[in-house]
C-alpha cells in the first residue's frame, strides 16, 4: 500500500518538475516547484524522516515559495511580462 502511494508521489513530483519546465508563466513554475517540495516532504514521511519532512514542508514548500512569490511580484511591478 505504502509502496503504491509512494510510487504515485514520485510520479507526482516528476510531473511537477515537468510542469516547472514547460509552464509558460513563471508563477505556475514556482508554484509547481512548491508542489515538488511538498511532494518530497511527503516522501520524507514515507522514508521515516519526520523531522526532515516537517522542516522541508515549513521551509522548502512554505517559506521558500512565499519569498519566491514576493520576488516575482516585485519584478512584475515594472509592467514587463513574467518571462524574459
Amino acid at each position: 500500500m505504502i509502496t503504491l502511494f509512494s510510487t504515485l508521489l514520485v510520479i507526482l513530483i516528476i510531473a511537477g518538475g515537468f510542469v516547472a519546465i514547460f509552464s509558460k508563466k513563471l508563477l505556475s513554475s514556482v508554484i509547481s516547484m512548491g508542489l515538488v517540495s511538498l511532494g518530497v516532504s511527503g516522501l520524507f514521511f514515507f522514508l521515516q524522516a519526520p523531522d526532515v519532512a516537517i522542516t522541508e514542508a515549513a521551509i522548502g514548500a512554505g517559506l521558500s515559495t512565499a519569498i519566491f512569490i514576493i520576488a516575482i511580484k516585485k519584478v512584475q511591478k515594472g509592467g514587463t511580462s513574467d518571462d524574459e
Partner: protein, 124 residues
Amino acid sequence: MIDFLQNWIYLTGAMALVGIGLYIVLTNTNILRIIVGLNIVDSGTNLFIVTIAWHPKSVMPIYTATNNLVVDGHVVAADPLPQSLVLTAIVIGLGTTALALAIAVKIYQKYGTLDVRKIKEEDK
C-alpha cells in the same frame, strides 16, 4: 523484491529532480527560473540523501513509548545521521535561495531585465 524496487523508485525520483533542475538551469535564460532549477536540484539532493539512509524495514529514529529503535542489539531505525545532514542542507538551500532572489530583484531594478544574456557589462 518489492522492497528493493522501492528503493530504486525513490532514487529515480531523486535523480529525476536533479536532472530536471539542471535542465532548467541549462535551458532557461530567466534568472528566476534558474533559481527555480537550483531549488529543484536541492530537493532532489535531499531526497537522495534521505533515501540512502532508509531501509524498507526501518523505523523512524525517535524514541517513543511504542517505537523501539534497537532490536537484538541491532539498530532498526533509519540512519539518523544523513537525516540531520539533510536538515542542514534544507536550511542552507533556503539561505541561498533568499540571497539569490534578493540579488535577482536588485538586478531587475538596476538592469531592467532578468535575461542572463543581457546581464553583462562592457569593460570600463
